[in-house]
Amino acid sequence: LQFQEYVFLQFLGLDKVPSPQKFQPVPYILKKIFQDREAAAITGGSQDLCSVKDLGVRGNVLRLLPDQGFYLYSKNLSQASSCLQKLLYFNLPAIKDKEQLTMAQLGLDLGPNTYYNLGPELELALFLVQEPRVGHSIPKPGKLFVLKSVPWPQGVLHFNLLDVAKDWNNNPQKNLGLFLEILVKGDRDSGVNFQLEDTCARLRHSLHASLLVVTLNSEQCHPSSRKRR
């Protein structure tokens, strides 16, 4: 059975039996796509397994990569209202070379919808990390590529990282991660100050980052048969 298992695993695109240490939450979108496919298989409906209708892209393998980065506790926070700084890192090498990246969506879940305090407004900045860290130094933020105001610290934000992920996939040494900084907007009087600490502590506790990657395996998915005009 051992040999056959290896053969079957290879067929599945795996080189050995995965033995995950901890179970990752399955995001709603993957569950939905899976259940829609199962329902279509039961009804015998035709399925294009090389397109992900819900996401509007071509692809037959969807991966949710968890963030493997860590919080940064730098003394000189860039601004007084800085709430948190985090290095985000995603392990892209899981993508096999014959797969073409068709989507890379960063998901930042700021935490559950709470109603007791709809504030303060946040400013969220994402930078590329372009220089490798020296020892345990704080990675230096490089090029800013997202600056977004968020009315309050709740809900899930999505950012298109396709070009960045393609660059990382083609040049793995460039994948040094992303530098995330969240600032509290507005002046700091004592009330806000209390909220700031409370908000930042809650954000640090609930922030969950992940990268949803869709790839198209050309060997299993022939170019979409466009109708010739």
């Binding site: 298992e5 599945l12 695109g13 795996l14 050995k16 039996v17 995965p18 033995s19 995950p20 240490q21 901890k22 179970f23 990752q24 399955v26 995001p27 993957l30 569950k31 796509i33 899976f34 496919r37 199962e38 298989a41 015998g44 399925q47 397994l49 037959n60 393998v61 969807l62 991966r63 949710l64 990569l65 968890p66 392990n91 899981a94 299993q220």
Partner: protein, 114 residues
């Protein structure tokens, strides 16, 4: 002249047999999130000449069954899947990634002589 069809009883004739692959039997339930298993099924049974004219078989199978009837040295046509469908698998790999992947031709829906 009509070739006497051998008296293969129905249950020996080529048809689809149920086979449920339970991932727990393979010890894979720890990393495969869904499904718990799937109906793979398989094809098995004889392909006598008479069958190739009725079951959804290929012309090639018809000719091979004819040749087998004339010269038993020629192997019989074989019972193979004629309609297959895909499955999707949701699993976790060793890098804690959650992966949804679709696999073509995993479920045998119909069999025939080919």
């Amino acid at each position: 002249s009509a070739i006497p069809a051998n008296k293969a009883s129905c249950k020996n004739l080529c048809h689809r047999h149920q086979l449920f692959i339970n991932f727990r039997d393979l010890g894979w339930q720890k990393w495969i999130i869904a499904p718990k298993g799937f109906m793979a099924n398989y094809c098995h049974g004889e392909c006598p000449f008479s069958l190739t004219t009725s079951l959804n078989s290929s012309n090639y199978a018809f000719m091979q069954a004819l040749m087998h009837a004339v010269d038993p040295e020629t192997p019989q046509a074989v019972c193979i899947p004629t309609k297959l469908s895909p499955i999707s698998m949701l699993y976790q790999d060793n890098d804690d990634n959650v992966i949804l992947r679709h696999y073509e031709d995993m479920v045998v829906d119909e069999c025939g002589c080919g």
